[in-house]
């Protein structure tokens, strides 16, 4: 009956047998492939994304140089801090990607198709996590060439990488949510600007002991500082200047709790907001 129209092979929808879960996973994979295909078309952009943090690392290491009160090699102190900073700045990348995507007409088509609701967001997540993981590996490579070393076991190194990716995962969902709340690219720029103080009001570059008391306290409670301190501990990059406040002494705990709390709040919010875009 339809041979003359869309061709004899015009297939009915949903013919792959499978449960809702299998279909949902298929959709997530399809959306991940979409993001990977975008990379394939924008190789330069991908490289720029990978090398921006490397540039920051080199700049802070050689131009701005050591911070006072840090014993030993500054690279040992700086490099793990820069890992954490890179994860936090991933927030920015996620927000830009989500806003541009949601303002594209293709989202209308996705939403009019029988696909799993969150697959678009899952595709975004997988792509961003892969990108950040690649970025982390590149940074570790560059770190090694400028004198940073890890001194712990491989398990500890894996733990450090895991903590950093957890921080990135938290930034991912925070970013997705903020991007949807802001909606328009102009508002996203405003949020982006706020990422910088969060990134720099941390112990990535210098120890809180060098700051006024009130600022030092704020810095020690910063999720990024907790991650940096915990990661330094795991890599064995102890600069011997860990603070003595509760936050500084429980950095490892905070480095887990902060991201988990952020994900617990913003993942459901983001998913709900995405589902409710039509109202």
């Amino acid at each position: 009956m339809s041979a003359t129209t869309t061709g004899a092979t015009a297939p009915p929808a949903d013919t792959v047998n499978g449960s809702r879960l299998v279909l949902a996973l298929t959709d997530c994979w399809t959306m991940t492939r979409r993001e990977l295909a975008h990379w394939g078309r924008q190789p330069v952009q991908v490289l720029v994304g990978l090398f921006f943090p490397v540039m920051m690392l080199l700049m802070f290491n050689y131009l701005i140089g050591g911070g006072k009160g840090i014993t030993g090699d500054y690279a040992e102190f700086l490099v793990p801090g820069m890992f954490a900073l890179t994860m936090v700045f991933g927030l920015d990348a996620t927000m830009v990607a989500v806003t541009t995507d949601l303002n594209k007409g293709v989202v209308d088509r996705f939403r009019s198709m029988p696909m799993a609701n969150g697959a678009v967001l899952v595709g975004r997540s997988v792509a961003d996590m892969l990108q950040s993981f690649a970025s982390l590996l590149v940074m570790m490579g560059v770190g090694l060439t400028i004198g940073w070393r890890w001194h712990g076991s491989l398990a500890a190194v894996a733990g450090a990488v895991g903590l950093l990716m957890l921080l990135r995962f938290a930034m991912l969902w925070l970013g997705i949510h903020l991007a949807m709340v802001a909606g328009r690219p102009e508002l996203v720029t405003a949020v982006q600007i706020l990422v910088w103080p969060v990134g720099f009001l941390s112990n990535a570059f210098t120890v809180p002991a060098n700051m006024p008391d009130w600022l030092g306290a704020a810095v020690e409670w910063n999720p990024m500082s907790a991650a940096a301190t915990a990661v330094r501990e795991l890599f064995g990059n102890d600069p011997g200047v860990a603070g003595t406040s509760w936050a500084a002494e429980h950095a490892m705990l905070l480095a887990v709790l902060w991201p988990v709390a952020l994900v617990a709040v913003f993942l459901p919010l983001a998913v709900r907001r995405f589902g409710g875009l039509s109202r």
Binding site: T6, G7, A13, D14, T15, L23, A37, G105, D108
Partner: protein, 336 residues
């Protein structure tokens, strides 16, 4: 259940603005239903609600027997959507797009690829290769968009102004696709600003204004109500315009139109436009009217610059339907 689309009392507000104000619409299976209306009438809002992209504040919306609010996923399995604006991934190639949409329809990787190639060939996009869609021309993009809405043969296909921005060939191709789809049993809902398009394709038409249906029927019904074709006469000398307008009613319609010769803009539907030196009147028999008008003008010694028989424009249709509601007429003029 033979109706593929049932909309009852659909309302949608944006702040104070009522985009839909109690819209009713029914389309039988396997038919083409035209939704005709000026800018801002609520056509896109209606389509987005029917395609589950928006929720109506009030009212019942049933597509292919499924409730658009509670069974959105079921609806989505059965529909295709060609939105007013392109809904394809501009960064990817046409083939990448179609393959992706095929996978999202759960065809599986292999069949999604095969289907993509078929559709590319069918819509004349087979040689686009790896080129990103953002480098396509407007017409190519529209064709790809249409192909994407036909990945699986939908039970109900929504087309929001499918031919706006297409050249005559592209337009003819879209029309051809629509006709063959309907031959295959698909129900098509098509919005348009062109009366001719509705005339060409639609079995029934709803005229929409201010988020409400102001007239509904077959195109023949509506044409009968609206006076069908019109003849336009442009006179060389503006001073002759009124004289030309006076003889039009007698000339065009055979005996039954002879009654009303009182002139301009009267019940016989004659209108004049002094700036363009144009007089216009409804006709029933195109050829007959043309011959008689030419002869009448010659007899009266009125020189014409141009004479043409044409379909009424959407403006004229709306002006006629809303005659007496001055605010609407003013709005229509602004919208033109």
């Amino acid at each position: 259940m033979t109706d593929a689309i049932v909309v009852e009392g659909a309302r949608k507000r944006y702040g104070e603005k009522r985009a839909l104000d109690g819209l009713d619409l029914v389309a039988a299976r396997g038919t083409v239903h035209g939704v005709l209306g000026p800018n801002g009438a609520g056509k896109t809002t209606a389509v987005r609600i029917m395609a589950t992209l928006l929720r109506a504040d009030e009212g019942r919306v049933e597509i292919a027997g499924c409730d658009a609010r509670r069974q959105a996923r079921e609806v989505r399995r059965r529909i295709g959507l060609l939105g007013q604006h392109a809904a394809v991934d501009e960064e990817l190639s046409g083939r990448q797009n179609l393959e992706m949409f095929g996978r999202l329809h759960h065809l599986g990787a292999r069949r999604a690829g095969v289907r993509a190639d078929e559709l590319l060939a069918r819509f004349g996009l087979a040689d686009t290769g790896r080129k990103a869609v953002k480098q396509y021309s407007g017409g190519m993009r529209r064709r790809l968009d249409l192909a994407a809405s036909l990945i699986t043969e939908p039970e109900v296909l929504f087309l929001d102004e499918p031919t706006t921005g297409l050249d005559p060939r592209g337009r003819a191709e879209v029309w051809e696709s629509v006709r063959s789809l309907v031959g295959g049993g698909t129900t098509v809902l098509l919005t348009t600003q062109y009366l001719e398009e509705a005339d060409q394709l639609a079995d029934r038409v709803s005229l929409v204004d201010h988020g409400r249906v102001i007239a509904e029927g077959t195109t023949d019904d509506l044409k009968a109500r609206l006076g069908g074709d019109r003849i336009d006469v442009v006179v060389r000398d503006g001073a002759e315009l009124v004289r030309a307008a006076r003889l039009l009613p007698g000339a065009v319609g055979g005996t039954d139109a002879l009654g009303g010769t009182d002139g301009v803009g009267g019940t016989d539907g004659v209108t004049v436009d002094a700036d363009r030196r144009l007089a216009s009147a409804p006709v029933t028999d195109r050829m007959e009217a043309l011959t008689r008008v030419v002869r009448a003008l010659q007899e009266e010694g009125i020189e014409a610059e141009d004479i043409a028989v044409r379909r009424p424009t959407l403006d004229e249709v709306f002006l006629r339907l809303t005659a007496g509601r001055t605010e609407d007429q003013n709005r229509m003029k602004e919208a033109v």
